[in-house]
Amino acid sequence: MHLSSKDLLGMKELSATEIELILNTADTMKLVLDANSKKTAHLQGKSVITLFYENSTRTRLSFEMASKFMGASSANISASGSSIKKGESLIDTAKTIDSMATDIIIMRHQQSGAPHLIASRINASVINAGDGMNEHPTQALLDMMTMRRHKGTLEGLKVAIIGDLLHSRVARSNLWGLTKMGAEVRLAGPATMVPPGLDQTPAVWCPTVQDAVSDADVVMGLRVQLERQQSGLFPSISEYARFFAIDEKTLSLAKPDALLMHPGPCNHGVEMPTAVYDSPQSVINEQVTNGVAVRMAVLYLLASRRNQA
């Protein structure tokens, strides 16, 4: 079993079988993380570059740790310390990196479709680590891995995703991925932050957070960028918290064993109160661990596909 593409661009591009392959592989990788000696030779002799045009702590670190655990040579490029600041085009930058015998480029970019643009022009595999408002596939995969480990299957799960749906690539990737795997995705948030066209997707739009959370197996909060308030998307932080936060009362509407998730970083008291963030139902820190396992799996699968080719 191999991935059909040399790149991981989005959940839209993956089949259900491929998603399953990645999740199964990630479960195996998790054993490596739990072991005493966190070292494999899966990426020995491979070179991995992270190319980040946007700030990131956990995603970048997670990819870096994943490639180090598997023995890759890795290097990092960020927008501030390279020719990017000198106005080099994305295609030129990508070709330059590609010309240094690079096997895998992990890219985050503020423009939707940026990884797609370079993927077709270079030999290296491209992993999308977040592109604009489009996708963040490894986040969705680590979320799905976390859900599956607790619930056994994704099929039939009721997943409520709450918050800024308009700007969220995490929400989009989860929507495409989860519905492909047979889960029911319910969305809620301020009506000003709902992407038009949602009615033509498999998602169920809920007018209130309570509607979305009721009887849910998973409740996921999304990060709200507080500066969105200035562009008129919601009146104030406190009003947002009053109507759109996942508080204890709201969470109690979900199934008793429902999981609470958040892609991080969380604005405590906005998306959810600290008590909820730290509640026994919260698997937020486990998501982070699973993120490393998922990224190891993706790196491994793309690298072994390259070996076959």
Partner: protein
């Protein structure tokens, strides 16, 4: 040079004729067989002779953006597409808002162009929407309409002044209809923009301004021309306004009746334009508007860009596509062969429609009229190849399309301007 175009099917919508006959060209005009000695005989048997096309809306990029296109390359491309007259928009650098720039374009086109160029002047200075441009003086220098195309006139008060003042000089205002505050996106707003994670431009961004401009025209009892309409509701509003007697005319472009927002998939920047490509229902409504006469004109909105401005992240790529060399073939293939319009109706929208907008007078393929005509092959299909474009730019979504209606020869002012 005396040219005899022999044995072609002559389709002349202005004269209402469609017959096989010879055309005699002498001294820049069509003449009769009497005492005619041909220097050149073109065998047009099996081919179709149509009037030279007029483009009501294009961007020649000169002065200021010659790396994209210039008057010579742009008119060469226009001639290859069967255009004998093109009207160019004023969003150059400097903007066409004074007589010096108008004269520069007119003179350059006259000396070096491959077809007639009619400049459209800016409605406001610098196209900034604040003060009227010198419309009267530019009119004397040769502009044929005014428009702030590319940057819509935001204030209703400014639009009213532009309409009132332009009318005094027998010029019409061409309005680029876009309510900018709700148009901050990169493609049509809907399921495809959601799936691509791109910001959308809703249809209402266009429709709000279409509605405002129609209301103003009705109130002032003055004409208005609406550029590149792309949505069903826009067409509907124009249809109703026309029925009420409002002096509104409008145009669409070939991309709005041939493509939909689906073309943006894969982050295809060749499908990025403004207004954006719309869903199928809008495409159908555009065709219906063309068929019932609501839409008067098919314009190209020829918008050349350098590959460096298109080979980019979708959100950073420029809007627009080149259009001269595909416009007639797309109209012929989709509308005429598609059974929506007769050839004469298609030609009216690419000849008499724009001529009326600019007050150019009648053009017929009969003795005495200027020899602006095109020989086209309507029956053999060809594959459009962007690498053979006669202009500088290659930004087209139609590369590899199989089309009918290839232009073989373009004669303008009695001279052969293009020959395949």
């Amino acid at each position: 040079m005396n040219i005899l175009v022999q044995g072609g099917r002559v389709v002349d919508p202005a004269a209402g004729t469609d017959e096989i006959r010879d055309i005699y060209v002498s001294d820049g005009r069509i003449t009769t067989a009497d005492d005619f000695h041909a220097d050149r005989i073109i065998d047009a048997a099996g081919m179709t002779i149509i009037p030279g096309l007029i483009d009501a809306h294009c961007h020649l990029r000169e002065p200021g953006f010659e790396y994209r296109e210039d008057i010579v390359s742009g008119t060469r491309s226009a001639a290859k597409g069967g255009f004998t007259t093109v009207a160019c928009m004023p969003n150059t650098s400097p903007v066409v808002d004074n007589t010096a720039v108008v004269e520069f374009i007119v003179n350059k086109a006259r000396e070096k162009g491959y077809c007639r160029v009619l400049p459209i002047g800016a409605a406001t200075k610098g196209q900034k929407g604040k003060e009227l441009a010198e419309i009267g003086l530019m009119s004397e220098a040769g502009i044929v309409a005014i428009s702030d195309d590319g940057s819509p006139i935001e204030r209703a008060d400014m639009m009213r002044k532009a309409m009132l003042y332009a009318n005094q000089f027998d010029l019409k205002v061409i309005s680029h209809c876009e309510e900018m505050s709700i148009a901050e996106g990169h493609m049509n707003e809907g399921i495809v923009s959601l799936e691509l994670g791109l910001r959308g431009i809703p249809a209402v961004a266009e429709e709000i301004m279409v509605s405002r401009d129609i209301i103003l025209a009705e109130y002032l009892k003055l004409p208005i021309h609406l550029a590149h309409l792309s949505t069903a509701r826009s067409i509907d509003m124009v249809r109703q306004a026309k029925a009420r007697g409002v002096k509104v005319t409008c145009e669409t472009c070939p991309h709005y009746f041939t493509l939909t927002e689906e073309a943006c998939r894969g982050f295809n920047t060749m499908a990025k334009m403004n207004p954006p490509l719309r869903p199928e229902a809008d495409r159908q409504a555009i065709i219906a508007g063309l068929a019932d006469g609501t839409i008067d004109i098919i314009a190209t909105d020829h918008a050349p860009h350098h590959s460096d401005e298109k080979d980019l992240e979708f959100g950073l790529a420029n809007n627009g596509i080149v259009g001269f060399e595909t416009a007639f073939a797309l109209g012929y293939t989709w509308l005429v062969r598609g059974g929506h319009l007769s050839l004469a109706e298609l030609l009216s929208k690419m000849t008499s429609g724009p001529a009326a907008l600019f007050g150019l007078g009648e053009q017929k393929l009969e003795p005495g009229y200027p020899a602006d005509l095109v020989i086209a092959d309507l029956d053999t299909s060809y594959v459009f190849d962007r690498d053979k474009i006669a202009g500088k730019a290659r930004n087209t979504p139609y590369h590899g399309f199989e089309l009918f209606g290839r232009v073989l020869t373009t004669i303008q002012g009695g001279k052969i301007r293009y020959e395949a």
